[in-house]
Symmetry: D2
Subunit: 413 residues, 4 copies
């Protein structure tokens, strides 16, 4: 990073934006304020059903996971929270963990329950958990979620994310309506026990790990359930959880229209739930999503602060920390570009049926090189101007391997 | 059709079913009772944006359309209603039309409005109709729907089908939330004027003729609007209106779970809204949909009689009447097969997690050759044993061409 | 299975077919002759990246895998060969294994190499194998394939199946043309060492485990490489390895047109490479594929005997042996139905542009209940009339668990 | 456009690029040299099967089409050729047309034949043209193509683009292998009569207007045919002609690897062959395609000059001229960004398995705001700095309407 070029680029961009009535300082301030949580399972190498390739130096326990996120926070200044997964991250000593996190400037984002795997619990989730036809299995799955809430309470978390993998692989295997009904009832039990200042973030996903039907396949089903739970239950959007060609930005708008958007799991994909780095495949889509978010908040559909932000990708061939640095940068850029949209002019084009003009307004924002803004925000916040360069220059992965070992493997998938 | 083979096949099948406690006579009676409406625009050749190939002898007016459906009814005994489209089918004399239809045993199914084309009305629908940012255009579109209701009242129809093509081709062109809000408000005005014994059937479709966003793209959005309208507004499922790989049978179940299924537009497709003959590409999917319908009705989720049935295909390379005969046969077969499902055994498999057994139950029904049942139903109702053979043997298309001309073209797309 | 009903159904069907000039005995004979290989990895429970649920009693070694296939063969008479995977199935004593297989009536179908996982070899396949930019890795991968050939030779196999997972997760990661070139060169080295009576079966797959690009993504690329290798290299079609909406039966025809079809990996899917039981989701597609196979062979495009047949599914929620019984049955049915197609009449319809008639010809075959034919073939061959019933009645899985243990896990994914 | 800002932006960008060893002047020169043809049918409003909305002032004949392209050329300096469609653009007087074009600086790109519609020719193309089972229809379609070549010769064109819509709507309708064989033979006849300095550009498309099978559905089939024709037959890539999720940039690389890339039809899409403005939905994909093109040419796979460039979009809701201005700008930007890729560094990352680094190299190029380069190229060539602003300011559409009428409709779809 050439410091001089940064200064001059930022200066020229500020001047250009200023000529349009946009204050660069304000943009920098908003970019600085935008923080994205990192899930604890994202710090190790991911894998596919065909195998997994180790990265080396992965965090061996919750404390080391916090340290990795602390590092990310120090370098990028774009993340200040971790999202834990139970049972992968059960803290031995909640107070100690909480203090350690605080010392690193990290708080606890939404907790994640796991009823899609068997990890020693009495009854198997092979045929489903919250939707299981056996009430004992459902009760066990509800109980697990309540335990997750308890752990979260001890850490200061304020949310429970439920990704329900339940579904079926073959026609006939499941009873669609009963499964939906049982799921709703199970979630009602969980919701009833959730603290009043918590929210429930309910994911949807059309397929995988079940390949014929999933109990909560789309936003409509998730919203249907949330409406029956109460105001604090909202729909979580994972960018990879959609059928081919879905217009995700429209779903975001529709959810905000109903004040039903819980938040995001950021990633990118070309085929399915590929869990690639956000912004690496469809950066324009990410920009359009942020346009809806900013517009929806500005126009009062749903408050910005009511939305949760989290990365959820699988780092199969990249160093997870490098991947997260890239993801945080991509999200910041998409956000910054969306902030540049001349919304007044856009509205005018929309009202006048000026399709060409509306496209120009979006392109004007998207084509702008906002890296000077994002970099300035990072520098002003005390982060690194070029975090990835720093990470490599300082040989951080090498240090982690030296400390934790070549074969250290983080808990998770 | 060999009469002897039919008698013996039906006899052996009846015996086999009887051994399982299924009464063939009852099945025949249910198949006979199941009637599917035909849309008035399905009697002429369809086309694509690349052109249209004439079929010859197409009905030149509403009366001739009724005659074609009357013929279909006489041959197949599987259809007893027509679904009209305004402005393509404005009757000059409603009473005369009604009498003609009655004489052919045809009643008037749901009416269809058209706000996706410009056909001389004062304001253009180029930028949308019920969702248009211009309130004058919205008012005009609402007024058109009210006129359609009026025409329908004069004919004895009891429903209004709204397919809203509104949407946008490019990011930025439309304001998602406003478009949704305006659409809801427009529909509220229409709903308010709808007779109390009518229902509103609201379609959804992800794309085409708009290729970036459609205002009502999925069942969730349609249901969201219907809930704001009232009990008599329900979601219409057109089989071709889904993204790739959608589990349509699950959507059917989810809608019935909410008592929100208005009915069907039957067709088949491999890629998008291909509008091919029902059952010609994915017959197993059609069977699975009927399994959900029968199960949902049997278990009290939604009453069978509250659901509307209509064919909606585009006959680009087939004689429309032959295509409709094939479609009615395919629907009857799927229905008959679904009636054969041993629901008690299926429930048992589902409760025991017997995935293999559940598949066997469905396969047992699907693999059964139900043509003897469907044929017997047709014969008992006074139809033709082999309608397609009859149609060809009697050279009906040739007669229609002789009467109506080689270049007669039905109104429609 | 009611013996009387079978006899009478078979008799009536035979008579009906006879009236059309089709000899049932000949059909039974062809169905009996059609044998499908089973892969060694299909005998244990499969899994997804989110976990795996054990089935119990899985074969613990190659010998037990052979025993399972021997059992399948005895019950169904539809399989007589196993396809081994190296390194999962390295025989300790090839002669002993060969004898054991022979005693069970099992021969050795194509061998499968594995360069998509790290299992202790010196160089990692993380960044690819046959396409790796590092020539040492490519050499290692070539060498592995040569070892697989050697093992295959010792067992009497006559083919090598190469599924190359190589590809990339992100734009920029791989050099498309170089990767293709290196792959071609690596395969040339393997092909050169392959015995003259062997064939090389080259798979294609659009994505997974790589989610941006796969080196051999489609039939066109596989064919391009095969053409450069020689006559004994042909394209393997795995039914799950296609983008949404692909017309697979057309690909089969196009490959046969070039005499380039190596064979099949049978499975079914709704979304991606779901690896569900063949025929469980899209039975009509399977029928259409067999129509092309039978037509292509009958008309001299490619010899039937030159095509290899194998099941390749992942049994995540079903007992693998039960699943295989269902798959073998579904394949036999699709084959039997395709044999019923009146090809002369179909040709006539095609030549006359009789689209409706052509559909009728296919439907006439598909709607026929061919279970009496398939059952008769099985009985005449000495198998069980109802293999699944037998398997359950005899409590075979329970016996296997008793013998091998609840937690026995087969090698594989 | 603020002239001062342009100058300073261009200056700073030049300096920044210079620091990396990239000469801005050279980039400007390459951008200036890159010209994209415009099809004659793109100058009027497009439509869907559901209707068409007029734009007003559309060119009423070939001369007016040339004038529109002349205007585009004058404003943007990015197009210097027209691609004609027969029978829509049959010139009355070839010499006069040629002179008129020359006076506007326009030459004649590849000619397009049309055997997908009936426009009065003796035999119908309803059941196909070059693939028709009737040899007389095939002969007629071949003859039409030869006439198109003749017209093209009289105008100085050097290519024939064949988009073959032939296919089928239902299983059984077509004989896949015969249709492929007949198509190949028909194309051989056309190729044999093509002048030696012409090339044949063969398109592929998976579906529409046929919805079950298309004779040339994918690049593999197109390449298969081209190989049988000869060196001057190559594969044309239309960006909208792919199944969901296709990696188009890889296809481009694979075709260049074989020296088989004929050229492009630029457009963009979200669902199918949506024919939206290039770069309006997936700008990153367009950039990646240009990366392959530049890399393939630079590394000698296929010569840049051997590739044809054409826009092919349908302007349903935009003024066609404005749309084309946006498209030319988007293509120029994608090209300019791809020119910025540090190919040496990219190669290094690829060789070292540095996935993160490779992504950074591409992002560095894509995130750069290249509008100063594209604008500078336009200015230096004598075009308008801001063509769209100019077009609107000068009220060009209004003038065209005044001259040609509100209801003038261009020939085409």
């Amino acid at each position: 990073m050439n410091t001089d070029f940064h200064a001059r680029s930022f200066s020229l961009l500020s001047e250009q934006l200023g000529a349009k009535g946009i204050k660069a300082a304000e943009l920098v301030s908003r970019i600085s304020a935008f923080q994205i949580a990192v899930p604890s399972w994202a710090l190790g190498a991911g894998g596919t059903r065909f195998g997994r390739f180790s990265i080396g130096g992965e965090p061996r326990n919750l404390e080391e996971k916090l340290e990795d996120i602390g590092l990310l926070s120090k370098l990028t200044k774009r993340t200040d929270a971790v999202s834990l997964h139970i049972p992968w991250d059960i803290p031995q000593d909640s107070q100690a963990v909480k203090q350690k996190a605080a010392s690193l400037g990290i708080s606890f984002d939404a907790m994640n329950s796991n009823t899609f795997q068997d990890y020693g619990q009495p009854l198997s989730y092979k045929m489903g958990s919250l939707s299981n036809s056996d009430s004992a299995v459902r009760a066990q799955a509800v109980e697990h979620n309540l335990q997750v809430i308890d752990i979260g309470k001890s850490l200061g978390s304020k949310g429970l994310t439920v990704w329900l993998a339940d579904g079926s692989n073959f026609p006939g295997q499941a009873h669609f309506r009963k499964a939906l009904q049982w799921t709703t009832e199970s979630l009602k039990e969980i919701y009833a026990e959730m603290p009043h200042d918590w929210k429930l973030l309910l994911e949807y996903k059309p397929y995988e790990p079940n390949f014929y039907h999933t109990v909560i396949p789309d936003w409509g089903t998730s919203a249907l359930i949330c409406r029956q739970l109460g105001d604090r239950a909202k729909v979580l959007v994972d960018l990879g959880h959609h059928l081919p060609n879905t217009n995700i930005e429209q779903i975001v708008a529709t959810l905000m229209h109903q004040n039903l958007l819980a938040g995001f799991h950021f990633n990118d994909s070309k085929y399915g739930d590929d869990d690639l780095s956000t912004g690496s495949v469809k950066p324009y889509q990410l920009f359009l999503i942020f346009c809806e978010l900013i517009g929806g908040a500005a126009e009062g559909a749903q408050a910005w602060d009511s939305i949760s932000w989290m990365i959820d990708a699988s780092h199969n061939t990249k160093d997870p920390l490098e991947d997260l640095i890239q993801a945080l940068e991509a999200i910041s850029q998409a956000y910054a570009k969306a902030l540049l949209v001349d919304r007044e002019k856009l509205t005018q084009c929309q009202n006048e049926g000026d399709v060409v003009g509306a496209q120009e307004v979006l392109q004007e924002a998207f084509l702008t090189d906002v890296r000077p803004l994002v970099r300035e925000a990072r520098i002003q916040s005390g982060g690194e101007a070029a975090p990835l360069d720093f990470y490599r220059r300082e040989k951080i992965r090498e240090s982690l391997i030296a400390k934790r070992g070549k074969n250290a493997q983080a808990s998770g998938l």
